[in-house]
Assembly symmetry: C2
């Protein structure tokens, strides 16, 4: 189980689908059926040393990120958040109270921005490093949840913003979850598939390809680099939390005319590739491209 | 913020109640309003060294406990579980896969027992100790969620099983969440207030007293000790995960006649006390009684 992805596949084999579970593990959110309609559910755990360094950053930014990554999962399905539950394991010490209050203020500010009430949680102290978990519910908008699995060969791929260098820029703390954009797009065009970019564009594009049973073709010179990002970074750095989505060619024209997002590639019925600035084609893998082929 | 309780009070002051949030932080579950009715939500985080020792116990038991404590929160509101989301921070190492699979098997077995589908999660590895978070949704049964706040002076207090010594007995891993009992009681009698006993009977009785605006009177010689538990342990050891509930005197007769639960005290309109085996009265506090008064 080297990666989260392997575990998700293992999980899928273990879990009996029941009639209430519409979408189980493996998409941005799970989807369950309730008498009133569908509900989105997602959870993310952030750990000191992996997702942030508690000694190097304001607790409010850590709290903000813990909430925002869940909001981004809801956005990736074009959903609207409805409630959040927070759990924390706080390191014992003199600054425990200050830390807890800062975390909560950061969580609450971004949750408020998207009308998502924090309804409960579980607070613990321990001798280990800071761990924060947020679980979030949401409701679909428009015609329902947008999955990873609906892309078709011939679709055009777009991203909602520049990519790369998020750790150096600090944007993995300060990014705005694309809730509003996703809901607007979902009303204006037919989103075939969508995902949020947490592990890097190449990796997320391959998730859409795998779930949709198609290939993707990424155009290196059209991927918009964020400030200070290299082209390779724009392709494979993580934690941008922009959205990647696939639409028909007709809808693609509307997206381009309205300057709603950046066109960065296509869905195909071939193996997934990257086309570099010189027009050369390279097999695409989750960390970018296979350097041995260059 | 010495205790979880203090943080809950601080949280309550921060959180704006919205019309969708029926019960926010401070009860066993949060309750939100949806078009189809009320939904219960709860979350619990378990950490190595606090809630279990990863080197001393089978991973399946750890996973079982992580799921069961959430089921117990749903039980405390007489709810029925509907879905679970799991998050783990797994220590990196040779046994990571074995650990993850064992945890999952333990979680799935007890979730299956209560028809609760595991619908998604977040899997991480890190250099820190094992942390597991479960977030769970549920639906109310019968006349709706049973809160902590509905007890009245004159009510009788009951517990669903013997208490104390759960760490030595290992029952904090193997307990059966009282989902079935709670739903049955909720149909048979009018449960004024209910809570699950995670922090010890004395502490939980005081929660009911505080939330209900009454006092409690616990009868030391009627508290059923579990195997190997001292009377003090039955009163204040934690992690029994039995239910404590308050009913009217008329319903109390039915509970006693049907041998549904153990009568252990009353609700009053006075300060909370413990009555010892000799009939002496002692002020009750969360860790048992105030020894200085003995």
């Amino acid at each position: 189980m080297a990666t989260e992805f392997d575990f998700i596949h293992w999980l899928r084999r273990q879990i009996d689908s029941t009639s209430r579970v519409i979408i189980g593990p493996g998409d941005d959110c799970a989807v369950i059926s309730r008498p009133s309609g569908l509900q989105l559910l997602t959870t993310d755990m952030l750990m000191d040393g992996t997702d942030f360094r508690v000694n190097e950053v304001n607790p409010e930014l850590i709290g903000r990120k813990a909430m925002a990554v869940n909001l981004s999962d809801i956005a990736a399905m074009a959903g609207r958040p409805t409630s959040a539950l927070i759990s924390v394991a706080l390191p014992k010490g003199e600054s425990t109270i200050t830390l807890a209050e800062g975390l909560f203020r950061g969580m609450k500010a971004i949750a408020d921005e998207f009308d998502c009430p924090i309804i409960g949680g579980d607070t613990n102290t321990w001798t280990g490093p800071l761990v924060i978990n947020v679980a979030m519910t949401g409701e679909p908008t428009g015609s329902g949840p947008v999955l990873r699995s609906g892309a078709k060969p011939g679709d055009w791929l777009f991203v909602t913003g520049p990519l790369g260098n998020s750790l150096a820029r600090g944007s993995h703390f300060t990014f705005t979850p694309r809730i509003r954009e996703a809901i607007a797009f979902h009303h204006l065009i037919n989103l075939h598939a969508m995902i949020d970019i947490s592990d890097g564009l190449a990796s997320e594009a391959l998730h859409i390809a795998r779930e949709s049973g198609c290939g993707v073709e990424l155009l290196m010179n059209q991927i918009p680099p964020a400030d200070g990002a290299t082209p390779a970074g724009a392709l494979s750095d993580g934690e941008d939390f922009e959205l990647l989505f696939a639409v028909s060619e007709i809808d693609a024209e509307r997206v381009i005319q309205a300057k709603m997002a950046y066109h960065i590639g296509f869905c195909t019925n071939r193996d997934s590739i990257l086309i570099d600035d010189s027009g050369r084609r390279h097999p695409l893998n989750a960390t970018g491209w296979q350097h041995s082929f260059l």
